[in-house]
């Protein structure tokens, strides 16, 4: 049988186990100094004091609470009921159409918009977490001039004077902008000042794709990729499920082709060629590791092979040697002509041009790639920021307006930028929260948070998405566009401006037969407007051009050790680094939280005498702890960007290290890999990881099979299930559930491990953030976790993932051991956890075979009135961040156990709605938070008593099994076996 191991350490210590050392890992338990020598006397003192204190507290008269009604109640607001407003998330990189759940005036949760064709109701972790950023304590409270509070009028006057007197350039340096109305307001601003310029700057650039398309096809755009139409997907280092361009959209598309059924056992095949273990790579059917400098050689050979095969032409020139055999790859792609898709994550125009050539020869254009609806994000041109910094140093720039950009943190040549900054006459930041750049700026004109803003977005040609405020601005902020318009001399509210722009530009485009008022109301309500794609662009490329690309290749030199800089899935490029929910969301692959690290392959680490936690120094300057990462290419180091912020708040400052300085620029393009040297420092550093805490001790918990096996037998890999079912006899009576019997099914084939469910669960269920030190002690509070297992060779392992939440067992081991009956089973099959009854013995936790129960070691949410109990490393218990708490879920205090409830608040709400409307509860009406957020629809919640429910269909599927079903806990959660497509039968 295959050996599954959950981390490299576990495999290494298999020998220890054999020699009887069962628990090689000692928990880093720090003895409390105060508790040293604590005695009966201390106990009595505390006891006496506590009783006295409690009595005083209890003897107080009832505290007065007020009930303040509306003065004039708006018609649509009902106290105690949530409203949903369609809006749009866009942070400069990632776009998503969303619904904002607003309860009693406060946005508390974000859901995907079902109408959105790009995300289909899914969202990702960063979007889920953005609601917490609205209540960030580090937001600017109002406009600042040289660090002093000023009024908007005074500030506008000062800024207008400065801009009018500017003798050099005025530059608006912004992050990505996909809003047509914002672009229009910027255009107006630019036309008001002759010497002004707008530069778009993306900290992580994908500009080479635009550049390549421009050079090859004359189209400066990023096309629409259709992973759902591809039968073979070949990705060169593009983490398209995690961070690449539009990951939520791609995840949804990707999985459409990867849900084989008995009727239609078809499945796409995914080959990933990469250096570090990315989330996408961990999902691939076949994963090939290379050094990043070798990527071009493979692409060139592949392209040459395809040219020669196509009989259009033949390439006879000399080619660099490919580190892998491309013939098999090429043949597989050719077998699926018109149905294959090749993508590349490198920011290198030549690579992207070769990818274009390969895709062209494979007939992808018009099939799996098309330009009819090209994407509008990633417009940043790498050379423009280089030029800007140069001009700043030459003194040609008078002032810069920073709008959603933070080059003082994420620009690679920071020293040059800071030096040039000294030459500026004025600097204005529009940032809504404190960051490195805004701290430097003379004037801070804080923008609204996007949940307070009016805006629109055109993520793709002809696809519009509106953004409306879900709360009135909390602080004295002003929308950035309004600031720009004010400095243009236009005194206009941005909502009027937006409406006018739509009336004049987009309404005529839409060809709608409604009048504008109705049109506006409809699309503001829906959030989405789709205008039919106009032309059928089919780009073409001559064979001569292809030969030319191959002929003029500039190859990278292979380095001894190569460093790869990547965007982490949990935290992103650094904009959201001050979000504790995201920082505590484990990395999908390594499960490390609150840090970045140097991922090194086990073999390479062994040879260099490295181990996890050893600190190395890269290029003599940048220190970083090592993590042994199975599947990392030998001779490479992967480090995540987006960490090591110096300003921004408690969660971001000093968390990880900033590696943007190691981004290099070559021929005007930013490159995210380089040859480096490293040395051991002798220091060690503790990384906090959720990885080793929940080991299931090597039992076969994940059942997997390959597609060819599945075709022969749908129960392949799950043979043991039937056998176990036969043996499940009990002396006790079978449980009967009169009404509903709630259950959840998880399709392991669909889960990509993106962890969006973890953040969604945090937001929905008031799950606290505990911080790095507590995670090290194994005290993370997440109600859902995604276990990640490796199997096979540590240098190129296979990765499996399994979301685990409370299994809601019918024979729940936790229930039997609770001395106060605080956890019991309900008549609807839910394992209930009653916080107000729990006394915190933690017996249930010890007896739970799935380790899904979480204990509140401290009062992380300030739920009780004893101040000493509160542990709050990130100020989340202040009044402002507490506004995000869901009023429908109890906020737990110190000393109680908690765990997944199946989102009972949602179950109860939907049940009540059905009763009030005098109808049956429909299948699929109740969606748990994890299910609702899932971009790949891997989770299905429903009623096991309803034979026609989707859930029941899953349970009848031969792939269905339960976790540890042999111990007869009868869980309500079930899993569908994972199916891979290793053999290449698409």
């Amino acid at each position: 049988m295959k050996i599954y191991w959950k981390g490299f350490e576990e495999l290494r210590e298999a020998n220890d186990k054999a020699t009887g050392n069962e628990f090689p890992h000692e928990l880093p338990i720090v003895l409390n100094k105060q508790s040293k020598g604590s005695s009966r006397r201390d106990f009595l003192k505390t006891f006496g004091f506590t009783i006295a204190g409690a009595t005083i507290a209890a003897s107080c008269e009832r505290p007065i609470t007020k009930a303040i009604p509306f003065l004039i109640k708006p018609e649509e607001i009902i106290p105690g009921k949530s409203n949903y407003y369609a809006s749009t998330f866009f942070d400069g990189e990632l776009h998503q159409s969303i619904l904002v759940k607003v309860r009693d005036g406060r946005p508390i949760k974000i859901e995907g918009n079902d109408l959105a064709p790009m995300s289909n109701g899914g969202t990702n972790g960063i979007v889920q977490g953005s609601v917490l950023e609205l209540y960030d304590n580090n937001r600017y409270r109002g406009p600042l001039s040289h660090g002093e509070e000023v009024s908007w009028e005074d500030l506008d006057k000062k800024i207008s004077e400065q801009m009018a007197g500017a003798d050099g350039k005025i530059v608006l340096l912004s992050g990505g902008i996909i809003s047509p109305t914002t672009n229009n307001s910027i255009k107006e601003f630019l036309s008001a000042y002759d010497n002004s310029e707008h530069i778009v700057y993306d900290p992580v650039s994908h500009n080479s794709i635009r550049e390549a398309n421009h050079q090859v096809f004359g189209l400066n755009s990023i096309p629409e990729y259709r992973f759902d139409k591809a039968e073979v997907i070949l990705s060169f280092g593009a983490d398209f499920l995690g961070t690449w361009i539009s990951p939520t959209e791609f995840s949804f598309q990707y999985i459409q082709n990867r849900k084989p059924t008995e009727d239609n056992p078809a499945m796409s095949r995914h080959i990933q060629i990469e250096s570090g273990m990315s989330m996408t790579g961990s999902n691939a059917d076949q994963r090939i590791t290379i050094k990043p400098s070798r990527e071009k050689a493979i692409l060139a050979n592949l392209l040459a092979f395809l040219i020669n095969e196509s009989e259009l032409d033949s390439f006879t020139g000399k080619l660099p040697e490919s580190p892998i055999d491309i013939k098999v790859l090429a043949e597989e792609l050719l077998n699926h002509k018109n149905k294959s898709l090749v993508i590349c994550g490198s920011n290198d125009t030549e690579s992207q041009m070769m990818v274009n050539g390969i895709n062209y020869l494979l007939g992808s254009y018009g099939n799996t790639i098309n330009f009819d609806r090209s994407l509008h994000s990633c417009q940043g041109v790498d050379s423009s920021i280089e030029n800007l910094v140069k001009e700043m140093n030459e003194g040609k720039v008078s002032g810069i307006i920073f709008y959603n950009s933070n080059p003082a943190y994420d620009y690679s040549d920071r020293d040059a930028f800071l030096k040039g900054f000294q030459n500026l006459d004025f600097s204005i930041s529009l940032s809504y929260t404190t960051d490195e750049t805004s701290k430097l700026c003379q004037f801070v004109c804080p923008d609204h948070h996007f949940l307070e803003s009016w805006n629109d977005a055109e993520p793709k040609d002809g696809l519009f998405s509106l953004c409306q405020p879900a709360i009135r601005n909390i602080f004295n902020t002003r929308q950035a566009q309004e600031s720009l318009l004010t400095w243009t001399g236009k005194d206009v509210a941005f909502d009027d401006y937006l409406k006018k722009f739509w009336e004049e530009n987009i309404y005529p485009l839409s060809g709608s037969d409604m009048d504008f008022r109705a049109f506006w109301n409809k699309y503001l309500h829906d959030g989405i407007l789709e205008i039919p794609a106009s032309s059928k662009l089919k780009p073409s490329i001559g064979s001569g051009q292809l030969l030319e690309i191959l002929g003029s290749l500039a190859l990278e030199k292979e380095g001894e050790t190569e460093l790869i800089l990547y965007t982490p899935v949990s935290v992103g490029t650094g904009k959201h680094a001050n979000n504790p929910w995201l920082q505590e969301n484990p990395d999908p692959v390594s499960k490390v939280v609150w840090d970045n690290y140097a991922a090194v392959s086990p073999k390479y680490a062994d040879e260099n005498g490295l181990n996890t936690g050893d600190v190395i120094k890269i290029n003599g300057k940048y220190e970083i702890p090592v993590l042994l990462q199975p599947g990392q290419m030998y001779g490479t180091i992967s480090v995540a960007l987006g960490y090591g912020r110096e300003e921004g708040g408690k969660a971001s400052i000093g968390t990880g290290r900033n590696f943007y300085p190691l981004v290099r620029t070559e021929k005007g393009q930013r490159k995210y890999f380089s040859t480096v040297e490293f040395e051991k420092t002798g220091k060690t550093y503790d990384l906090a990881s959720t990885q080793m805490h929940h080991s299931m001790e090597g039992r076969a918990l994940i059942r997997e099979t390959n597609l060819d096996e599945y075709k022969k037998d749908p129960a392949a890999g799950n043979e043991i299930h039937e056998e176990i079912e036969l043996r499940l006899d009990s002396l006790y009576e079978k449980h009967e559930f009169a009404g509903h019997h709630w259950g959840l099914s998880v399709d392991l084939s669909s889960c990509t491990g993106c962890n969006a469910c973890v953040v969604a669960c945090n937001a929905e269920n008031n799950v606290p953030v505990v911080g790095k030190e507590q995670v090290k002690l194994g005290r993370e509070m997440h109600w859902i976790r995604i276990d990640r297992y490796y199997s096979g060779d540590p240098e190129s392992p296979e990765v499996l993932r399994q979301p685990v939440m409370c299994q809601h067992c019918d024979n729940a081991p936790c229930e039997n051991v609770c001395p106060v009956a605080a956890t019991t089973r309900s008549s609807e099959g839910v394992n209930q956890m009653i916080y107000n009854r729990c006394v915190g013995t933690r017996y249930c936790n010890n007896n739970c075979p799935y380790k899904v129960r979480r204990f509140n070691w401290f009062d992380f949410n300030k739920a009780d009135s004893i101040p000493k109990n509160t542990v709050d490393p990130f100020d989340l218990t202040l009044d402002l961040p507490r506004m995000v708490l869901n009023p429908d879920v109890t906020v737990r205090a110190k000393g109680v156990m908690e765990k997944c409830t199946f989102c009972l608040q949602r179950v109860q709400e939907k049940k009540l709605n059905a009763k009030l409307e005098d109808r049956v509860l429909e299948d699929g009406e109740i969606k748990t938070a994890c299910q609702q957020v899932c971009p790949t629809q891997a989770l299905t919640f429903g009623d096991l008593n309803d034979e026609n429910s989707d859930l029941s269909k899953h349970v009848r599927n031969p792939r269905n099994y339960h976790l540890l079903e042999e111990i007869h806990t009868l869980p309500s959660v079930s899993y569908l076996t994972k199916i891979r497509n290793k053999s290449g039968e698409a």
């Binding site: 006397r41 009595l44 003192k45 006891f47 006496g48 004091f49 009783i51 006295a52 009595t55 005083i56 209890a58 003897s59 008269e61 009832r62 007065i64 609470t65 007020k66 009930a67 303040i68 009604p69 509306f70 003065l71 004039i72 109640k73 009902i78 106290p79 105690g80 009921k81 009967e736 009169a738 009404g739 019991t824 309900s826 008549s827 609807e828 839910v830 209930q832 009653i834 916080y835 107000n836 009854r837 739920a863 429908d888 879920v889 109890t890 906020v891 409830t901 009972l904 608040q905 109860q908 049940k911 009540l912 009763k915 009030l916 005098d918 109808r919 049956v920 509860l921 009623d943 309803d946």
Partner: protein
Amino acid sequence: MEASSGNYIRTFFSILIAFFLPMQLFSSTHSLPVYLQQDTHASDTISHENTSHEGNTNTEGDHHENLKLGSRLFFGLTGSSDSPVNCASCHNTKALDTLNWNPSAVEIAFSAAGLDSAAYANMLLFPVGKRLSEAHAGIELTAQEILLIRQYLAELGPKGLVAQKPDIRRMMLFLFLVILFLLATTDMIFFKSLKYKVVSVIVIMLSFGWGTKMVVQEAIALGRSKNYAPVQPIKFSHVIHAGENQIDCQYCHHTAEQSKSAGIPSMNVCLNCHTLVRDATRSGKFEINKIHAAVDSEKPVEWIRVHRLPDFVFFSHAQHVGAGKLDCAECHGPVKEMHVLEQYTDLSMGWCLDCHRSRKVDFLENEYYSMNFTELHRQISIGEIDSVLVEQIGGTDCMTCHY
């Protein structure tokens, strides 16, 4: 050794304190009127400048004397009139549990703070409104006397109404029992002055038993507030609205059928009637004017919340009123008879469960129950049962209220 014995003594004392402190409980101050003490920060709106701008050059001593005189006038202890009626007989200076329809002395001080002397005198001697002019008819006060009264009220305003003394009879009884118990015990063990031990034993048993019973009763009542009836910022009477005028509960509390919260009517709901109804039979214009003042100043009325469940309980009015079709009075009691609204039931979990165990659900009528519940449907069809209790559909599950 010295230090540690000191520690023992301290520990003993803390336990002793822990033992005696519960007696605080027995002062039964649950329904202490509260709201008027809240607003006293607004003292700068009624300052001495307002009251003494008529050119009086009062010294500190005179001022004190004036206040005394004003207070005597207010309570009818001095003055030219020999009428038995005085200001204090209608306008109370103490917080009361019973409803007094007239504005209290403090409320007058605040509402009249901005008036000049002539308007103030006019208001006092020739008030608008039929009832008020009848009540104030025959008041004979000189301008100087009115000024004195005003000074007294201005002084009283920021202090707020005098709280009632808590009832300490129960506590005295408890202390008596404790002393009795201690006396009997020490006598039985050390002094042995009583001839028959059995007397001591009986006294010990009785005092201990009764004392324990009191402790248990008070402990159970902890955190519950049955009969809680705070004084509200507006003397709103459910007797007049729901009783005499027969306004349906859900006319004002109109979200009861749809939402968790029944909803406290917003000011615009009040104004539906009170744009026309400006003069009340009992309270005159004074209370209704507060609604208009709230709308004009854009500051909603801050009611004192009466019914409050702990944070870990999720109660839904929609479930009970909308789906369960309960009458409001079943939980809230005879609200139609309450001038001052009070909490009718103790809202304890036992009280909830009693009802969930005995009440029938709308099983056959509501379409929701048509799916699933096969066993119950079978039992009904064969006549084994004729109705379904809340308990039978999971109404006593923890998850019904706690999540």
